[in-house]
């Protein structure tokens, strides 16, 4: 049976995403840590798209009577999870960044104080 157009489109897109993410990780443009969620999502959508009988059975359970819509729902939920995760990562980075900046400011002031004291101290040599 030849797959319908939507299944074909979604499979190709998911597969493309999978390849893109893997290639970015290979080039170190994306850390493994942050690629995992993307790979999981792309993989899940690909599997759902190809396993059409499974999708046809799962969708009605969720109250979705046009099965391919379930693909979009899955993608949407996956994106939400990824975005929330990234917001948490940004929060953590902001905090670490703030602490680094604070300590930089304090250390800089201490170095200047020390340098001034050193410049004023009588030279023993």
């Amino acid at each position: 049976m030849f797959p319908d157009r939507l299944t074909l489109f979604v499979s190709v897109a998911a597969f493309g995403l999978l390849l893109l993410v893997l290639e970015m990780v290979r080039r170190r443009a994306l850390a493994e840590k942050y690629s995992l969620l993307w790979l999981l999502m792309a993989g899940a959508i690909l599997v759902l798209a190809l396993a059409r009988p499974a999708l046809d059975r799962i969708a009605p359970v969720l109250g979705i009577y046009y099965a391919p819509s379930a693909l979009f729902v899955a993608g949407f939920v996956g994106l939400l999870v990824i975005l929330l995760y990234f917001s948490a990562v940004i929060t953590q980075l902001t905090r670490q960044n703030r602490i680094a900046a604070q300590q930089l400011g304090i250390l800089q002031a201490r170095i200047e104080t020390l340098e001034n004291a050193l410049a004023q101290a009588p030279n023993d040599d």
Binding site: R98, A101, A109
Partner: protein
Amino acid sequence: MGRSGAMNVSEDTKTLVIIPAYNEEESLARVVAGVRAAVPGADVVVINDGSHDRTPLIAEHAGATVVSLPYNLGIGAAMQTGFMLAQAGGYQVAVQVDGDGQHDPGEIGVLLERLLAGEADVVVGSRYLEKRGYITPWLRMLGIKILAGYVSTLAGQRFSDTTSGFRASNRRALQLCAMNYPADYPEPESLLAFRKMGLGVLEVAVSMNKRYGGQSSITPFWSAYYMIKVILAVSILLLRRAPRRGESTYVP
């Protein structure tokens, strides 16, 4: 109505006056000079929060120690930097005075007197405890009233001025602030945090000057945003057990 005469009480109590400043070149010289005259025994540090003007130069010329943050971190993080210094330097008392000149340094003595008498762990100068001719636009007054009412209810203590940044803290309070201090608009949130940690907070009446220079960053839109954010932050604070420990503690 600030008390005249220098406050000598800090000679034997190691005191750090923390002045957070973001682009305050117009007012800062006067603020630092006023503070040094009011509490000659205290050390004065200006936290330059990534200013684009001559704030750090002016602070240094006025005789303050300057700690410059590499970029603007916001008032909360700037204040926390000051508390980190106070903690690491073994200071017994930390005083916060805004860099824009709206606080009268002559009244630091009023705060210190009550703090050193052991009446509270944190003494806050309030603009609204007594009528002193300071006029606030009605919209902002409404926001201030709502915020004060909300924070007071949660804290179980009546506060008239939850956004006042004119404060004196003892060692216990400043250590807490060095460890954990709210980020953007820290004043109302920190009041509640103090109460949750079992610290005593006392408001005393102070006068308020018009800003010497610069422009207040508060517009109606940002006031509303500020109020909603603070209400959210304060509400969430209730759900937390205690401030997180071991975070951003600076040990030299």
